[in-house]
């Protein structure tokens, strides 16, 4: 089945996964560098961020920033894994053999990754709120929230994983038919 190889949607999706992964790697490198700089020399944070409420020292703020960067890094890493599995599923569609147990496992993993990203975004959102309320307004901004779309995506992926499992079973039955 070579039709899949010429499918414009598959080609666009494959290109998209490559671009997204490049963006994620750049993002992860950026976050890693930012974390390292924040840990090694927090004078940059001290210069740009004014602590608004006295109990929160610049040390606390630095710790909060490093932790939020770390959580964002984990989130990007999980998203990278998600996009990699998606690229692998797209490859199998291109080869004309998508109904395999491997793809079902990939979709299940993608479902769990979508849930874990949501779980990680919860402490990140709490941390962002704490940081924003403790520094001068406008000097720190981080948007993070639990998204219903993300949970919905995970449910759809789990259902699709079951569809692919059944498809793989049917394909196996068909293989022994002459």
């Amino acid at each position: 089945m070579s039709k899949g190889n010429r499918d414009a949607l598959l080609i666009a999706a494959k290109g998209g996964t490559i671009l997204v992964r490049i963006g994620l790697v750049i993002g992860m490198i950026g976050l890693g560098v930012a974390m390292a700089v924040s840990v090694v020399d927090n004078s940059i944070i001290a210069e740009h961020v004014k602590v608004q409420i006295e109990p929160a020292s610049i040390g606390d703020i630095t710790g909060g920033v490093v932790l939020s960067l770390f959580l964002a890094l984990i989130s990007l890493g999980l998203t990278y894994d998600f996009v990699t599995r998606l690229a692998q599923v797209i490859d199998t569609v291109g080869r004309g053999d998508p109904f395999t147990l491997e793809n079902a496992a990939r979709l299940r993993r993608m479902g769990w990754l979508a849930i874990i990203v949501q779980v990680v975004s919860l402490p990140l959102a709490m941390l962002a709120t704490w940081l924003e309320s403790n520094v001068e307004k406008g000097s720190f901004q981080l948007d993070s929230d639990i998204s219903l779309t993300g949970i919905g995506l995970a449910i759809v992926l789990f259902i699709l994983a079951r569809v692919f499992t059944r498809g793989a079973e049917m394909r196996e039955e068909l293989e022994g038919t002459v």
Binding site: E173, E175, G176, T177, V178
Partner: protein, 73 residues
């Protein structure tokens, strides 16, 4: 499996090769070989029909059934 395929005997009786039958019924040699060696899980009616047509036989001539317990006893 208690159901077995007697394609070898039929081909021998008709003096026909497996390759020739595969060409006549438009099935790959590999698939016909799977059927002959009893490794097939299922057979399509269309395949059965084509084999019966070319070998001039009934489905019962091609397939046999042997109860596992009877065979042991």
């Amino acid at each position: 499996m208690p159901v077995f395929v007697k394609l070898d005997d039929l081909l021998h009786a008709r003096r026909m090769t497996l390759t020739e039958l595969a060409e006549r019924i438009d099935l790959t040699l590999a698939n016909l070989s799977i059927l002959k060696t009893g490794k097939a899980k299922a057979i399509r009616f269309s395949t059965l029909e084509a084999i019966c047509r070319e070998l001039d036989c009934q489905p019962g001539d091609l397939l046999g059934y042997e109860n596992g317990e009877d065979a042991e006893g």
